[in-house]
């Protein structure tokens, strides 16, 4: 029957790894448990039998057949150059990393370098310089924009003035024309009035003349 404790004790005993407590338990089981004692006895017998096992002589055999030229028969991935090449590539990679090797490609040109890259201070300087350039360009654009605005405003003002002047001149001209027309109308009316007055006066004068002719000699008058 399988007993885990027995199995553990016997295997530890066979490996010579029994602790003091385990050894005590082992000896106790050997005395008290027949099954366990039989297992230990079998292992003992077999160990002894194995040590005394009769060694059959090795027959003559073809040892030469086990030897062949390893170098020529070894597949290509087992050649010695592969680990050497691998080591060399690893060393080269380490040198490239430690020396800050870098490759830069710009407009079809490749540049190889060993510098350690850009420091934080350099980056800050570059950023500040780029910001200054950006500010200057912005200011220039703003100035140009303001100039253009002022010029446009000036042109607009001039156009408005011109318009106002021309429109008021036209109005004045029309007003004067109206005035002249009114005056002419007035003069025409006056002339008609005076003409009627004169006719009336003539008629009165004529009436007065006929009255006088009835009284004596007619009054000589010439009408031209």
């Amino acid at each position: 029957m399988h007993n885990p404790e027995y199995e553990s004790l016997i295997t530890k005993w066979l490996d010579g790894e029994l602790s003091v407590e385990e050894r005590q338990r082992f000896e106790q089981l050997c005395l008290e448990d027949d099954e366990f004692a039989a297992q230990v006895e079998t292992a003992n017998q077999f160990t002894l039998a194995a040590e005394q096992f009769e060694q059959a002589p090795v027959p003559a055999w073809n040892k030469e057949a086990t030897y062949f030229d390893l170098q020529s028969n070894a597949p290509w991935w087992q050649f010695q150059w592969l680990p050497v090449a691998s080591m060399a590539m690893s060393a080269a990679a380490m040198v490239m990393v430690l020396s800050g090797f870098h490759v830069q490609v710009n407009d079809g040109q490749m540049t190889l370098g060993f510098n350690r890259g850009i420091s934080e201070k350099d980056i800050n300087q570059m950023v500040a310089s780029r910001l200054d350039e950006y500010k200057e360009s912005n200011q220039l654009l703003l100035t140009q924009y303001m100039d253009a605005m002022a010029k446009q405003q000036q042109e607009n003002g001039a156009q408005l003035t011109q318009y106002l002047l021309s429109s008021s001149r036209q109005e004045r001209r029309e007003d004067f024309a109206e005035l002249v027309k009114f005056i002419n109308q007035q003069r025409s009316d006056d002339q008609h009035f005076y003409a009627r007055q004169i006719n009336n006066l003539e008629q009165e004068i004529d009436a007065i003349g006929s009255t006088y002719s009835g009284l004596g000699r007619p009054l000589e008058t010439t009408h031209e």
Partner: protein, 180 residues
Amino acid sequence: MFEKRDEQLVAKARNGDKKAWFTLIQRYEQPIYQYGIRMTGNTHDAADLMQDIFVSVFKSLSNYRGEGAFRGWLFKIAHYRCMEFYRRKRPQQSLDECPEQISEEDTPEIGMLSDESSKQVLKAMQKLSVAQKAVVELKFFHHFTFDEIAQQLGLSSNTVKSRLYSALNKLKLDLEVENA
């Protein structure tokens, strides 16, 4: 004169030193052959398996990183070759399955052994499943720890312990029968 360490011989063999390779073979052919006999129960299969294992080890020498003992690495390859051998020879049989009842009479290989105790051990081992046999072989004959065996077989340490414990139950019965 001091013997060269396994790792030094492996390095030399990898660089084309034939003598170093044969020294390694000489050092390990006996344990590998015995491993083959106990795992296959057959001297012819054991000899074939031994050659197969050493060819495989030589091909894989470039993969040996020296992270563990060469001996452990060698037996790991031996185990894989042995499992392939079983799959090739008995494709229908599971590696966890115990073999069918074998003949009570000694096979020629067992008959070759003069020592009675060795005969009993060999017969008892042939009744274990391949998976149990591999654990018993590595534990009792090559004295690897359970963690090392687990690493070599690609299993958890607990699985290896369970397999050995169940194998001991079976071996106990067989040895008792043989002793009776």
